[in-house]
């Protein structure tokens, strides 16, 4: 019978399926970090259970960690305690930890792929909603709550309802200055912050196939921002080339065996999806969000949609969002001054993102009114950036290249955007207060962020590319 990619991977991991019950789904890899794991470890202690498969569990510290002077003791007491607890818990339960100071440390969704832990056909979970990132490799990867972290610790399985499937095709060629981030912000703006709820989304089409692995990760990363349980892309030569030779990737005969399996991982031509949507790449412009959920996005030259055009019962929430942002109906954002530029997060902190920004800002200077933070996704990304001399380019431009972590994406560490300030950010969420109490976030691509860093205001990057 014809199957979608999700169904193929799902079926290969079902331990038990019984009518009236959720499936017992086997989890190949469990990624953990300091914020959503301590209560799960406590739960194990209360039940007197070990971690069932510690070798299939990988830990890192990312959410709370400082991004300057990372090797000095963490100043904030609660953050330090949480990171210390992770170290203690991993030692007690026999879990490999890539903690502060380790050359593999970084944002959990950056290190999995770069270490070759993330592989096609796997089931992967993490107590973090952006786990969908790993779907870029043709894996079923999704975020879970702490009770489920405890379940996976205890059993290496999860009780899960079989998901609905959606295919989103993006065909054609992207215009100049338009990137993967713009594709995903465009899709979310079209189907809303809840439009994918209940689905696993497979991204396909010629525009997706043309993307690098880093770009595919950016797309899959934000699946949750439309409510989807996960997002994935069928593995192809681009995927295999990326994986080959990575630290924990299969090698030798194991590689050949894995590769043969990975090549079976695609949706059959006549597979049935519960929903199919199609978009054209050429319709996509550099995107920007103007509100307080990722669905409130538009092409950067458009005007903010008016409140009266929203459905009646949504007008109150819509107006509340615009008031929070300090924006008016029908106005353009072009030329609005910005205060901070944040280039980082599990969405856009990979080496390719940093290269793209460096290429653009080479021999340019940031505007005086902006503070620019570049936070690499991992120690490996940081090291690579230094090896390639990107750090010098950033320094000359007046950008701060900091140390790896989640940083200002969610402001759990000191990297917070002050109240009322505007931050052009390559992260994934523009919720109220996400980057610090009363901060105002505008989500964009790394290129659009770089353009704003140079001009000090919201800028259509295409005009600057044309000049060059």
């Amino acid at each position: 019978m014809s199957q979608t990619l999700v169904e193929k991977i799902w079926d290969a991991h079902v331990v038990k399926s019984e009518a009236g019950f959720p499936d017992i789904l086997y989890i190949d890899t469990h990624l953990i970090h300091e914020v959503t794991s301590p209560q799960a470890f406590d739960g194990l202690r209360k039940r007197g259970l070990p971690v069932f498969r510690p070798k299939q569990t990988v830990a890192t510290a990312d959410h709370n960690v400082p991004t300057i002077n990372q090797l000095q003791p963490i100043k904030e007491e609660l953050s330090r305690y949480q990171v210390d607890m992770l170290t203690k818990n991993c030692a007690e339960f026999g879990i490999e930890l890539y903690g502060l100071g380790h050359p593999f440390q970084g944002i959990v969704h950056v290190i999995g792929p770069e270490l070759g832990i993330t592989l096609p056909g796997k089931t992967m979970v993490c107590g973090d909603s952006h786990t969908s990132t790993h779907g870029a490799f043709g894996a079923i990867a999704f975020g879970i709550g702490t009770s489920q972290v405890e379940q996976v610790f205890a059993t290496q399985c999860l009780l899960q309802q079989r998901p609905k499937t959606m295919k989103i095709e993006v065909n054609g060629k992207l215009g100049k200055g338009v990137t993967a981030k713009d594709i995903i912000l465009y899709i979310i703006s079209k189907i809303s912050a809840a439009g994918g709820t209940g689905y696993f989304i497979e991204y396909a089409g010629s525009a997706i196939e043309a993307l690098s692995m880093e770009a595919r990760m950016t797309i899959c990363n934000m699946s949750i921002e439309m409510g989807a349980r996960g997002g994935l892309i069928a593995p192809d030569q681009t995927t295999f080339d990326y994986i080959k030779g990575r630290e924990f990737a299969p090698a030798g005969a194991e590689w050949d065996k894995a590769l043969a399996y990975w090549k079976t991982l695609y949706s059959d031509a006549d597979a049935k999806f519960d929903s199919v949507l199609t978009f054209e790449a050429e319709d996509i412009a550099p995107m920007i969000t103007y509100g307080t959920n990722p669905g409130m996005g538009m092409g950067i030259k458009e005007n903010i949609p008016s409140t009266s055009d929203q459905p009646d019962k949504e007008q109150l929430s819509y107006q509340k969002a615009l008031d929070y942002m300090g924006f008016d109906d029908n106005s353009s954002l072009i030329g609005k001054p910005v205060d901070y530029v944040f280039i980082g997060s599990c969405t856009n902190s990979r080496i390719e993102d940093l290269r793209e920004v460096a290429e653009f800002v080479k021999d340019k200077q940031k505007a005086e009114n902006v503070t620019v933070w570049i936070v690499p996704g991992s120690k490996q990304v940081e090291q690579q950036a230094i090896n390639e001399g990107l750090d010098k380019i950033f320094e000359r431009a007046g950008f701060q290249l900091r140390e790896p972590g989640c940083s200002a994406c969610l402001g759990m560490n000191e990297d917070k955007i002050p109240a009322g300030k505007y931050c052009i950010s390559t992260s994934n969420r523009n919720f109220e207060g996400r980057q610090g109490p009363d901060s105002r976030t505008l989500l964009v691509s790394p290129l659009t962020a770089a353009a704003a860093a140079i001009t000090g205001k919201i800028t259509d990057v295409r005009e600057m590319l044309a000049e060059a």
């Binding site: 331990v15 017992i24 301590p38 209560q39 709820t197």
Partner: protein
């Protein structure tokens, strides 16, 4: 896990859509390593001014409204997977959340903690908001066994869906780990067959 069967209670109306888990419990309050105490910071930035004084106009600060049922606009709990959101709501004294639409991860987290998420139609949600608008002390009767919610003042009643397995868990206070651990032999067989 906390058991749930039936609840007759007042409600707190929060007629806002797309309430994300960063509003329910901002990231900076996720640093505790136990499950307790998050209620204090539930809707922190909507409840408090920057100087930690209460915002008088926020519904949770209005003593006219009280009860163990939180009623909110559609797409409740979107965003981060933080289970702290469910813990915070529960810790603040709520046992039920009603909305016309829930984000998946939040819904799962709530069910795993004995906090009952009930999805109702837009029309029924509007009826609840209308009832509490007229009478701030309006009561809801939530009956899990029969899967119904009734607005006591008007007698309006609706059915709601819940997975039969999850319903059994809630009524008996079982959790998923108990269920899977009973079948550990199947997991080991699965691993050997791989």
């Amino acid at each position: 896990m906390k058991k749930f069967e039936r609840l007759i209670s007042g409600l707190v109306p929060l007629n806002i859509e797309n309430i994300d888990t960063d509003q329910i419990i901002p990231a900076r309050f996720l640093k505790a390593t136990t499950r307790e105490g998050f209620g204090e910071n539930l809707f922190r930035d909507w409840r408090y001014n920057g100087d930690n004084t209460l915002k008088a106009d926020f519904v949770l600060n209005n003593p006219t409204y009280s009860g163990q049922v939180l009623v909110a606009g559609k797409n409740f709990g979107c965003g981060s997977s933080r289970e702290h959101a469910a813990w915070a709501i529960q810790d603040a004294g709520f046992d039920v959340v009603i909305s016309s639409f829930f984000a998946d991860i939040f819904k799962g987290n709530a069910l795993n903690n004995g906090l009952l998420p009930i999805q109702v139609s837009e029309a029924f949600l509007a009826a609840i908001f209308a009832a509490v608008g007229k009478n701030h002390k309006a009561q809801l009767d939530v009956d899990l066994e029969n899967q119904t919610v009734t607005i006591a003042d008007t007698g309006e009643k609706t059915d709601f869906e819940i997975n039969s397995y999850k319903k059994t868990c809630l009524i008996n206070g079982y959790d998923d780990i108990d269920f899977i651990l009973d079948q550990k032999h199947l997991i080991e067989e699965f691993e050997q067959a791989k």
